[in-house]
């Protein structure tokens, strides 16, 4: 069987695309990945997605989007995408040991946590190093933690952690945050949160779990050790494009999109954070998903005529 559209990814971009393609009566398969739902699955309250005046929990929002896509007949494969062959049509998309065929493809694989890449970090992920405060904060009750980063997600991580931790120190390499005013205000008003600008974590230390971090002041060059129980990393994301061989990406790994939805391969479209290094919002991802779906639909129609 050949699908009309295979959508790789199941965040707001992928699921919005699926709602649109299935409502257009296109046979649609979403390769959702084991950890389906994208970045919003790792958040708590989403306050800026229109239509939810009181806010909505990120995972609930994704569950709703998935139900909405399923309602119109979207099929899901809950496994991780492994490779794609776009050299001939129908396109082939492999997931584990299985290969699926499709007339068109929408790449909506989003972006994943960017880690610090410092010594001692990788082997302590899950042992004090985390990128998901809503998931792991409860393990840091009455403990001291740092959050690394200066954007909205770093602010959110810090605020979530204050519910459990004794103290939360925000470590940022610049001398000001780029987070939204409202988030910065909340952070600055929280008595549990301390802020350390011009600082970079250069090493994570500890036997079997995190015990200390080495922090460098990038103004003075001075390196100091800070005893700490947890390191939460929120310095941004890297686009998930490694597995696509023939798709053009830019220097940072984002898919080079033309007109916001076209890739270098005819019939392969793109949507969401995998090409958007600028806005990176759930609602823009959803919007890009809609655009890619409408363009795929138009393209399929043109192929038939």
């Amino acid at each position: 069987m050949v699908y009309d559209v295979i959508i790789i990814g199941s965040g707001p971009a992928g699921l919005t695309a699926a709602i649109y393609t299935t409502r257009a009566d296109l046979k649609t398969l979403v390769v959702s990945g084991v950890k389906w739902g994208g970045q919003l699955m790792l958040t708590t309250e989403v306050e800026n997605f229109p239509g939810f005046p009181e806010g909505i929990q990120g995972p609930d929002l994704m569950q709703n989007m998935r139900k909405q896509a399923e309602r119109f007949g979207t099929e899901f494969v809950n496994d991780d995408f492994t490779s794609a062959d776009f050299s001939s049509r129908p396109f082939k998309v492999s997931v584990g040991g299985k290969t699926y065929e499709s007339k068109s493809v929408i790449i909506a694989t989003g972006a994943d946590t960017k880690w610090l890449g410092v010594p001692g970090e990788a082997e302590k992920i899950g042992r004090g190093v985390s990128s998901c405060a809503p998931c792991d904060a409860a393990f840091f009750r009455n403990k001291n933690v740092i959050v690394v980063g200066g954007g909205d997600s770093a602010m959110e991580e810090a605020l979530v952690l204050t519910k459990f931790a004794t103290s939360v120190t925000l470590i940022h390499r610049k001398d000001s945050f780029k987070a939204s005013e409202i988030m910065q205000k909340r952070v600055k008003e929280n008595p549990k949160i301390k802020i350390q600008f011009n600082s970079e974590v250069v090493e994570v230390l500890g036997e079997s779990k995190v015990e200390k971090v080495k922090i460098k002041n990038n103004k003075t060059g001075e390196v100091s050790e800070m005893p700490i129980d947890g390191v939460f990393v929120a310095i941004g994301h890297i686009p998930n494009t490694k597995l696509f061989k023939d798709i053009e990406v830019d220097g940072a790994g984002f898919i080079k999109a033309r007109d916001h939805y076209l890739t270098n391969i005819d019939g392969v479209f793109v949507a969401g954070d995998v090409h958007d290094s600028h806005y990176k919002q759930a609602v823009t991802a959803a919007g890009y998903g809609c655009a890619a779906a409408l363009e795929a639909q138009k393209w399929l129609r043109e192929q038939e005529s």
Binding site: G96, R127, S130
Partner: protein
């Protein structure tokens, strides 16, 4: 069966003293990735029936056990053999991944 509910109280008897290896799923209500892993664990329990005992431990209600094994991120799946941890799997992964890890220690 994965409906084996492990607690701080029964952990020694059900896990540490078990003749068969035991897979313990450390989870909590509020943990969304745990909801992804939970059905996979159910399937694993069926597939490995007789070879591997499978149980779930709620970390909120059984903090002592979770802490003593250094669980700081969930879902965490730990395999115990003769009372010792022989495998630690942190985070949501595919069933095939879990199977590879399980097979490597059984």
């Amino acid at each position: 069966m994965a409906d084996l509910k492990l607690t701080d109280q029964n952990f020694k008897q059900e896990v540490l003293d078990s003749k068969t290896p035991v897979l313990v799923d450390f989870w909590a209500e509020w943990c969304h990735p745990c909801r992804i892993v939970s059905p996979i664990v159910e399937e694993l329990a069926k597939e490995y029936e007789g070879k591997l005992k499978v149980g779930k431990l709620n970390v909120d209600e059984n903090g002592v056990t979770a802490q003593s094994y250094g669980v700081m991120s969930i879902p965490s799946l730990l395999i115990f053999k003769n009372g010792q941890v022989v495998k630690t799997m942190i985070g949501a992964q595919s069933k095939d991944n879990f199977k590879r890890e399980i097979d490597s220690v059984l």
